[in-house]
């Protein structure tokens, strides 16, 4: 296959600048309603559901910086021959729940890139490591994310 160029592979190990996110109760409530949570602590916004972090840490960029597919260009997305991306999955260790008022600092690194042949054609898997702490360094979560280019 050899879909991944040396230049693309050279991005493995690079990181985005740390992202700082202030978590509000309203953010948690919106997420909890949208995902139809059933626990009162989530619907009241007292505590964030575990997967809240996935959305909270997404980049917010000007509309003009979105691609034709609606996805923002990422500094950690190499130039690949496959242009259509989808979420592949996550593996997360949670150290404590996120609560309103938390100020999170997340760092994201591109850790691996590999090819596979799926039932509907070639695929490229990109894996990222995300480390989430509070501003004072308390660990919140450590996550491995996978994105798939098809």
């Amino acid at each position: 296959m050899a879909l991944i160029t040396d230049a693309a592979r050279g991005m493995i190990g690079t990181s985005d600048p740390p992202m700082r996110v202030e978590v509000t109760r309203r953010d948690i409530i919106k997420y909890s309603v949208a995902t139809e949570q059933q626990q009162e602590k989530f619907l009241r916004g007292d505590e964030a559901p575990p997967m809240f972090l996935f959305g909270a840490l997404r980049p917010v960029v000007p509309i003009g910086a979105l691609g034709p597919d609606g996805i923002p260009a990422s500094s950690l997305t190499p130039d690949l021959p496959l242009k259509r991306f989808m979420a592949g999955g996550t593996k997360t260790h949670y150290f404590r729940p996120v609560r309103p008022g938390d100020v999170l600092v997340a760092t994201r690194s591109l850790t691996d890139m590999y090819e596979k042949r799926g039932s509907q054609g070639d695929l490229i898997f990109l894996t990222y490591k995300v480390d989430v702490r509070t501003e004072v360094g308390e660990r919140i979560a450590e996550e491995v994310q996978t994105r798939i280019a098809r």
């Binding site: 953010d27 919106k30 997420y31 309603v33 949208a34 995902t35 139809e36 949570q37 059933q38 626990q39 602590k41 559901p49 575990p50 997967m51 996935f54 959305g55 997404r58 917010v60 979105l66 597919d69 609606g70 996805i71 259509r84 989808m86 979420a87 592949g88 999955g89 996550t90 593996k91 997360t92 260790h93 949670y94 729940p97 996978t146 798939i148």
Partner: protein, 137 residues
Amino acid sequence: MVNVYDCKVGMPLPERRHEPSNVSLFLYNAAIWNAHRIHYDETYTTGVEKHPGIVVDGPLQGDWLTQVVLNWVGDGGEIVEFEYSNRRASYLGETLVSGGKIEAVKLAEAEIEVSLFVKNERGEVTSPGRAVVRLRR
């Protein structure tokens, strides 16, 4: 409250039906700030990305997997590890079912390992997952 001594390997967790709609997908993608057009623009989704219909977000199904666990344990525990993958796309109009079962019980640590699934109407697993929940003593 779930008691670790009542947990047996193979015990199923309560299942839940999910019928995502245009409105629920809009709210979810607004909440996570996701403008990917495959979740709201049918002409683009079928014409450009060649899906048969509007795509149900994989991470939303990941969230449903965590809810299988959290709704089972209530305030009696918390998820310490969770993983899932998107194996098969799901589309608007499908009815999906989430559930799981106990795979391992660690009495000393009060930890339960569970396998999780989201299935479509044909019984195909769209999103398998795994979680470790630590029960409060």
